[in-house]
């Protein structure tokens, strides 16, 4: 049994961590929070040059031809530093949609550009308030032209193309690839709880759309890709949870009150211990997800929901208690606590909310592939 990353993968982690600690300090995240840019172009270019954007993209499409395990390692590191880059949209989603359902031409056109960072892709499903479900999707494609509104779309303000779930002429849900530079596309940047990751509203008025995958198969393909993306996203959340815990621990060691470090008070110590418990459970569940992701196990849907629910819970828990441990200082703009708090709550909603994944986990377990989780 080896429920762990290999030595090579751990070397990759060290390598990516060094790169990010140099190029993506908290000041870089703040620059996106406070400035006009939507993402950190230099960090994104650097990740492309390291070959990690294309880690799980086959070499024939310009990737590094490694496995999704390497991508899990990278995701955790991006999460630790809250990297303000569109990796989840472009790599966990757009690239995975192309790999899962794209035609040879679509793959050849876009995958090399996603791998080298020249293009950014994203995925658009939600059309507004409430949990996303098939009935709520009204965007429509007629005669190869898409009409409708998608909101919010992560990185929709900077993406070059988007994979859209929409109804075909027969009313069935299908997926379409839309070039966002084409006519008939309007984008508006949205204010959000985490401005370090851009959100947009995309309005399509007879925008050219090409089918991705089989007609009528849209919901099915999206579910499969979202499961895979959920595992990668869980690693980002895990990295964030760990880092928020470390930050709280460091402050508890340094901050004095009543003549002693606050970490010596059980009220604080036990709060930190519980954060450690959450982060540890999340790590173990993420490793289970990573195994399912690369082994093609039949229980992948259960493993994905397990990793996602556990990591979402852990990141929210660690980020909110990080502020609590910091006391009033934790609620200042100057301290970085709110960056984790923002990111934890934004990631909890992307790819579907926590309650949606909780429901899916139990639905999938009752459907019979519960063996491993019981």
């Amino acid at each position: 049994m080896n429920l762990d990353f290999s030595d090579d993968q751990k070397l990759l982690r060290d390598h990516v961590r060094r790169f990010l600690s140099e190029k993506c300090p908290p000041s870089a995240v703040r620059a996106i929070l406070e400035g006009p840019e939507s993402y950190d172009k230099e960090v994104y270019r650097g990740l492309a040059e390291l070959g990690v954007l294309g880690a799980a993209i086959p070499e024939e499409y310009g990737g590094s031809g490694l496995t999704h395990l390497e991508l899990c390692v990278v995701a955790e590191e991006l999460g630790r530093v809250m990297a303000p880059v569109p990796v989840s949209s472009s790599i966990y989603l757009a690239a995975e949609f192309l790999l899962a359902a794209g035609s040879k031409a679509q793959k050849e056109t876009w995958l090399p550009k996603l791998a080298n960072g020249e293009a950014i892709g994203t995925f658009a499903m939600s059309e507004g308030q409430g949990r996303t479900s098939p009935e709520k999707i009204h965007a429509k494609v007629e005669g190869g032209k898409l009409t409708g509104t998608k909101s919010p779309v992560a990185d929709g303000d900077v993406a070059d193309f988007v994979i859209v779930s929409a109804r075909d002429e027969g009313g069935k849900l299908s997926l379409y690839l839309v070039n966002l530079k084409a006519d008939g596309v309007r984008r508006e940047t949205l204010e959000s709880i985490d401005p370090t990751r851009g959100q947009a509203r995309l309005t399509f008025d007879r925008a050219p759309a090409e089918l991705l995958g089989t007609k009528g198969d849209g919901w099915h393909i999206a579910s499969q890709v979202l499961d895979r993306a959920a595992i990668l996203m869980a690693f980002e959340q895990l990295g964030g949870a760990d880092r928020a815990l470390e930050m709280a621990r460091d402050y508890a060691l340094e901050r004095m009150a009543f003549g002693r470090p606050i970490g010596s008070f059980q009220a604080i110590k036990h709060m930190l211990a519980d954060m450690y418990v959450s982060a540890t459970l999340a790590r173990s569940n993420c490793y289970y997800g990573a195994w399912a992701l690369v082994s093609g196990a039949a229980e992948l849907p259960v493993a994905a929901a397990t990793a996602r629910v556990s990591a979402t819970t852990a990141f929210q828990h660690c980020a909110k208690n990080n502020i609590q441990v910091h006391g009033g200082m934790g609620f200042t703009w100057a301290f970085d606590c709110h960056l984790f708090y923002r990111r934890s709550n934004a990631l909890a909603l992307s790819l579907g909310s926590l309650s949606t994944w909780e429901s899916q986990l139990i639905e999938r377990m009752s459907a019979g592939n519960a063996g491993a989780a019981a």
């Binding site: 429920l3 418990v277 173990s284 429901s359």
Partner: protein, 420 residues
């Protein structure tokens, strides 16, 4: 990332599996699978005798105390082989639960501190299941603060060098079945509490030892009180130096927390099955959104514990020492089980108040409800476990101890006592 055995592990596993298949008391399997809190589930014959018989059989074939050296009755196997044996033993492991404290805690303490002569005398019959051991540590007035214990050992005034023990221990599992006990006492009340302790082992049939079962809050009696009235212990049965008892006890307690990969159950599989069968307004409970949310949160705890155990096994398989993550097991499982029991009763509606042992569903969660408070206390309370995680894993400073430099006899014993 895989769950596969190495070639050597697979060979070992198949050897173990074949031996267990040929030798295990298969006629008890169904009863053992019903094992619950404190009992091994055997009702058709004497459960202790059945446990001793299984342990003896294992010992004769070289499968007892796999990690112990051979000269003390063990098999000198690697940690990963011990884990594999445990996985293959499955329900039959419950049979030998009465030896858990002896094999897991008392034995390692004897091994670390006793004379060679005592080790060769005491350990082989412990390994082979001939002798049962208990641990006499906790007292009514010292639980989490173990070093505050009051049971006194004083030198006999007859020049024999023997010690005379008076006092009381509590929460002693299996005392009524035990041949030997590991006993921590206070030998010097004039020095700070950690410095005046001394460890002994003694025969549980020594004159002056009286064992009384405790009636617990759930009505059962799995634990005992043990009273000592002028119990005489030869000085040769001392472990460590006089005054070194605290250090000796740490050997025992470190071993208590070393159980790896056991994947403590939260009771989730039972709750999940129940929610598949129970109904809310004519629909299966498992389809209800609130039920799903609650189930999912418990499911990821159960799964997280399972894979945390597997990460530890992975480390052992590579010959590495598992990390501190295993310290979360009981903390997570204990609280989850209590939470889960309350939730299951809620789903049963007003009928949840009925505790019917004849109905498997109507009794199980009620039993869990009434037993789970103990899980959060025994073997290190939730609060002690959080201190351990906070201090040893996260590196936070210890609490300020107001009694640290005070002679034991000057430490206040009542919160209502007037300050001097």
């Amino acid at each position: 990332m895989d769950f596969e055995d190495t070639a050597e592990e697979a060979a070992f596993r198949s050897e173990v599996r074949a031996w267990i298949k040929a030798n295990a008391p298969t006629h008890l399997e169904a009863e053992l699978k019903r094992a619950n809190f404190g009992s091994n589930g055997v009702v058709s014959e004497d459960p202790i005798a059945a446990g001793k018989a299984w342990q003896k059989k294992k010992a004769e074939a070289g499968w007892a105390c796999l990690h112990w050296p051979k000269e003390y009755g063990g098999a000198a196997r690697t940690p990963i082989e011990r884990v594999i044996w445990g996985q293959e033993e499955g329900p039959y492991a419950a049979l030998t639960g009465v030896f858990t404290i002896g094999h897991g805690m008392c034995g390692p303490t004897v091994m670390a501190w006793a004379s060679e002569e005592h080790k060769r005398k005491l350990l082989p019959p412990l390994a082979s299941g001939e002798h049962i051991w208990c641990q006499l540590f906790s007292e009514p007035a010292s639980g989490s603060d173990l070093a505050g214990l009051r049971t006194r050992a004083v030198k006999a005034d007859d020049g024999s060098g023997d010690w005379i023990v008076n006092g009381q221990k509590i929460w002693t599992s299996g005392a009524q079945h035990s041949d030997w006990g590991l006993l921590i006492t206070r030998t010097n009340p004039d020095v700070p509490k950690h410095k005046g302790l001394t460890m002994f082992f003694l025969s549980m049939t020594s004159p002056g030892v009286e064992i009384r079962p405790i009636k617990q809050a759930n009505g059962a009696s799995g634990f005992n009180e043990v009273y000592f009235t002028d119990v005489r212990i030869p000085d040769s049965q001392r472990l460590g130096e006089v005054g070194q008892g605290w250090e000796v006890s740490l050997t025992t307690l470190m071993n208590e927390r070393l159980s790896i990969g056991s994947g403590m159950s939260t009771g989730f599989p039972e709750l999940f099955r129940f929610c598949m069968e129970a109904e809310i307004e004519g629909r299966p409970a498992v389809e209800d959104a609130a039920v799903r949310s609650k189930l999912a949160q418990i499911a990821v705890k159960q799964s997280g514990l399972k894979y945390t155990g597997m990460r530890a096994i992975s480390a052992l398989s590579k010959g590495e020492t598992p990390g501190p993550e295993n310290s979360i097991g009981k903390l997570v499982a204990g609280a989850a089980m209590q939470d889960l029991a309350i939730f299951a009763l809620d789903l049963q509606g007003e009928a949840g108040v009925v505790w019917d042992d004849e109905s498997p569903q109507q009794g199980r969660f009620q039993a869990m409800l009434m037993r789970s408070p103990a899980t959060r206390i025994e073997g290190g309370s939730d609060e002690i476990l959080r201190n351990i995680i906070g201090e040893r894993v996260l590196g936070l400073p210890g609490d300020i101890r107001v009694d640290k430099e005070v002679a034991f006899r000057d430490i206040p014993t009542s919160g209502r006592a007037k300050p001097k």
